[in-house]
């Protein structure tokens, strides 16, 4: 069974490649919970310690991806365990055909849309365009679908930190 670090790196490589170095650290901090986890999401408007404000250095977003995965545990478990996993694979192999996706009405697609919307809701306030947020969502799913049983363990680890 792959480790937390493995999944953190895989997800970062697919979604935010610039944060690959940090992904294992951030994932572990998220799973550890408590103040370590809180620090990942703390925003302080106006408080600047150095000569440049946060807009100059940018913000890391991989923790928000992990957070969305953890919050969407039931949805993801449904997708990963879907009897119609072939449909899911069909969809994720054709990510560029958005109009085709939107024409599907089955339950699996609805779950996909819920997950994509939750990622967009979390990442768009950080300044990412909606299209990029959707891309991150679907690439995350692509990675998780490579090994659903192991992915479920990773998702559960993230989810347990919220409890």
């Amino acid at each position: 069974m792959e480790s937390v670090n493995y999944w953190a790196v895989k997800i970062a490589e697919a979604t935010v490649p610039d944060e690959v170095d940090l992904a294992p650290l951030i994932a572990q901090a998220y799973i550890n919970g408590g103040q370590e986890k809180e620090a990942l999401f703390q925003q302080s408007k106006g408080g600047v310690l150095g000569a440049f404000d946060p807009a100059s250095t940018g913000v890391s977003i991989i923790q928000w991806v992990f957070h969305t995965i953890s919050q969407a545990e039931p949805v993801l478990f449904h997708i990963l365990g879907a009897a119609s996993v072939q449909v899911a694979l069909y969809i994720h192999d054709r990510l560029s055909h958005k109009h085709e996706l939107e024409s599907l009405t089955d339950d699996t697609y609805i779950q996909l849309k819920i997950f994509a919307d939750s990622v967009t809701n979390k990442l768009q306030p950080l300044g990412l365009p909606a299209e990029q947020c959707e891309l991150i969502a679907y690439r995350t799913l692509q990675v998780l679908l490579e090994n659903p049983p192991s992915a479920k363990v990773f998702i559960k680890n993230l989810g347990d930190s919220s409890k």
């Binding site: 935010v16 610039d18 170095d21 650290l25 100059s56 250095t57 913000v59």
Partner: protein
């Protein structure tokens, strides 16, 4: 990456330290002034009414305390410079309280190893730390010589996505360590914090006694004239008219004068702080041989959240537009001499102008300049001329010191920066001519002032 051993840096005078040394030298005189001010406060009548109230001497004293509070604020800030370990405690506390994070040892990840390798040519005496918190990179002292730089996760990401911007930001921060600024300014600096907290306290401690006195005067006259049988409405009307036409303009004028006084008090340390920030920007450009990274970082700076935030930010950093302007002049042959020669010495002239305007406001408020105006214009002009002469005369030792420092700095800079950085940098000796010219100018000013 360019090694500091192959580059030649322009030696820039640490004006902030220059200000600090002179501030410490004049501290005994300063304390004597405060004692004198407080002693005379009890006898000073802020308003020309011939009555006595037990509370009035107290309010007069409070007003005078308000006048010296800005200076006391700077003094306390200077005292905290001598307790660098306190900064470490304060930084850790602020990180926990505001950002919910801690400072950690560097993680064993490739990006961080690259960052450490990038910084290593610029300093041996700097500890490098890491934090997962959403902060910007910052430096703080861990002793009188050694300092630390904290690199957040966001910068590690930036290192991968926009290398030149990340390098510029890192070089700016490391420059403060090399130049010896960190012990005075930087994250957790009480020196800067005190400016921020004392500003509203000073204003309130000055204004509130004046407002209270106005109210007490009103109550006094109301009681006095009602006892004499004057209709209450008539008294209220008279007092209100007096308030609007005399008292309120006087309060506005006094408050404006007070704000000018505060500006004059903070002018020089803030000029020193701005110099240290602009020099750090300059170092970042020289070390990377390009202004692109720094300009990109400054372009991304957000518009300040409010005018209040903008004002307090200016206490610790030059406005972003000014930094951008200097970065655009990177290749200009005038930006270098302007940077090190003009800003700090010019601050003395700006301070003179502010104090002259303050003096005019005070004399208008007390009525001194308004008596027989414009017939007394010669007296006013002579008074201003005398103030200017006195100011330059008092500054004579400062001009002499500036002249000497321009002369010796190209030689001594390597020892100064070597002490803080542990490295031996190469310096651009072509700038010697500019230094000698500035030394002559300051020497001339000294002779003119004595």
């Amino acid at each position: 990456m360019n090694s500091s051993n192959t580059l030649k840096f322009n030696p820039l005078i640490p004006w902030l330290w220059f200000w600090l040394v002179f501030y410490i030298i004049y501290t005994p005189d300063r304390i004597a002034d405060w004692i004198n001010t407080l002693e005379h406060a009890k006898h000073k009548m802020p308003q020309a009414y011939n009555f006595t109230l037990q509370i009035q001497p107290l309010l007069s004293t409070l007003t005078n305390i308000g006048e010296i509070l800005p200076d006391i604020a700077v003094f306390i800030g200077v005292l905290t410079i001598f307790i660098p370990k306190l900064r470490t405690l304060l930084i850790n506390r602020e990180l926990k309280r505001r950002y919910k994070c801690t400072i950690n040892d560097p993680p064993n990840i490739p990006a961080f190893s690259e960052i450490k390798e990038f910084l290593s040519p610029y300093s041996k005496n700097i500890k490098i730390y890491f934090t997962l918190g959403n902060v910007t990179p910052f430096v703080y002292p861990i002793g009188f010589r050694d300092s630390a730089i904290v690199i957040p996760a966001s910068l590690v990401k930036l290192w991968r996505s926009e290398r030149s911007r990340a390098e510029a930001i890192l070089l700016h921060e490391i420059a403060h360590c090399i130049h010896g600024d960190v012990i005075i300014v930087g994250a957790g600096s009480l020196f800067e914090k005190i400016f921020k907290y004392f500003l509203p306290i000073s204003i309130l401690s000055f204004i509130i006694p004046h407002i209270l006195l106005t109210i007490l005067n009103g109550v006094y006259f109301y009681n006095k004239y009602t006892a004499l049988g004057v209709p209450p409405l008539s008294i209220i009307y008279t007092r209100l008219t007096s308030f609007i036409t005399i008292t309120l303009p006087g309060l506005i004028s006094l408050t404006t004068a007070y704000l000018l006084w505060i500006t004059g008090t903070f002018m020089l340390p803030i000029a020193g702080i701005w110099c240290s920030e602009l020099y750090a920007d300059r170092f970042a450009m020289e070390a990377s041989m390009s202004s692109k990274g720094l300009r990109d970082a400054l372009d991304k700076q957000q518009a300040r959240f409010s005018w209040r935030h903008h004002l307090f930010s200016c206490l610790s950093h030059p406005p972003p537009n000014l930094r951008k302007w200097f970065s655009e002049k990177y290749n200009s042959k005038y930006s270098f001499p302007i940077l090190f020669a003009a800003i700090y010495p010019m601050a003395y002239l700006v301070k003179l102008v502010i104090l002259l305007i303050w003096d005019i406001f005070v004399n208008i408020t007390t009525g001194k300049y308004l008596d027989n105006f414009p017939g007394n214009i010669d007296i006013i002009l002579n008074s201003l001329k005398e103030n200017i002469n006195t100011y330059f005369h008092v500054l004579a030792p400062t001009y002499l010191a500036m002249s000497l420092i321009f002369l010796v700095w190209p030689i001594t800079v390597r020892y100064w920066e070597g002490y803080f950085s542990g490295l031996n940098k190469a310096y651009n000796h072509a700038s010697h001519k500019i230094y000698i010219s500035c030394s002559i100018i300051m020497g001339t000013l000294y002779l003119f002032s004595t």
